[in-house]
Symmetry: C2
Subunit: 118 residues, 2 copies
DNA sequence: GCACATAGTGTCGAAAAGGATACTATTATG
DNA sequence: CATAATAGTATCCTTTTCGACACTATGTGC
């Protein structure tokens, strides 16, 4: 049984869509971006960087990213626990995608995201 | 009242996240990609290109993309009706983003999207 | 007169995603 | 003994998303 159902595809040949599925999830892109910029980060460091994300969601998203092979989770058998997250090679290969998103946003979302924004 | 609630942001300064919000929606990226490749397309042409998408969803996604200024909807007052969709200037500016997604997918998703895929 | 094509809309319900909150184990520190 | 820190879990609930399906108007072709 798949850990997470793959959603139905609009057109199976669309690698655009498949890629988007990987980074779909409310916080995944931000996590990847933070790791891209920050290198290795611990769980609570990520939390502090994204205060709006609940612990549960952060764990969820990290686990999915790990399952997709986009990041590496390294547990140190210490007390208090220490877990370090960093991009895997595959994750780092997403740099162009992430940066394309960032660049577009910087250029096009300076003031408002929607025309009718108050 | 906003047409669609903007979801809470992980970090307001992240243009990465904001950009992703614009193209978030199950079929938006594919629609944009089809229009990028196909130029101007009519409603039912899009439907045929994406058979898995219901009429209602296609309409929804097209309306949201229009509201975000990413595409142009041109209605011809004819019977039977004719409506043509094409990327706006703003929409076309997303080309780098869309192509980054496609290129990554082509290079990294050749066989399977998930390690545990049967 | 009937079906067909276009570009939709309306309603209902299921499923998935996400949020709030409380709880865990262990050790160090005071 | 009490508190704090780490990296989470567990449970419950609400919101959002998505799909199925039926329905619309109008003119053309048979």
């Amino acid at each position: 049984m798949p850990r997470k159902a793959l959603r139905q595809t609009a057109c199976p040949t669309c690698s655009v869509e498949a890629t988007l599925n990987l980074i779909d999830g409310k916080w995944k892109i931000v996590i990847l971006y933070k790791l891209l910029k920050g290198g290795t980060l611990r769980f609570n460091e990520l939390r502090r960087l994204m205060p709006a994300v609940t612990q549960r969601m952060l764990t969820n998203q990290l686990r999915e990213l790990e399952a997709d092979g986009l990041l590496t989770r390294k547990v140190y058998p210490e007390v208090p626990p220490r877990v370090e997250y960093s991009l895997s090679v595959r994750g780092r290969s997403l740099e162009q995608v992430i940066m394309a998103l960032k660049i577009w946003g910087d250029e096009n979302l300076v003031t408002a995201t929607r025309a009718e924004a108050a």
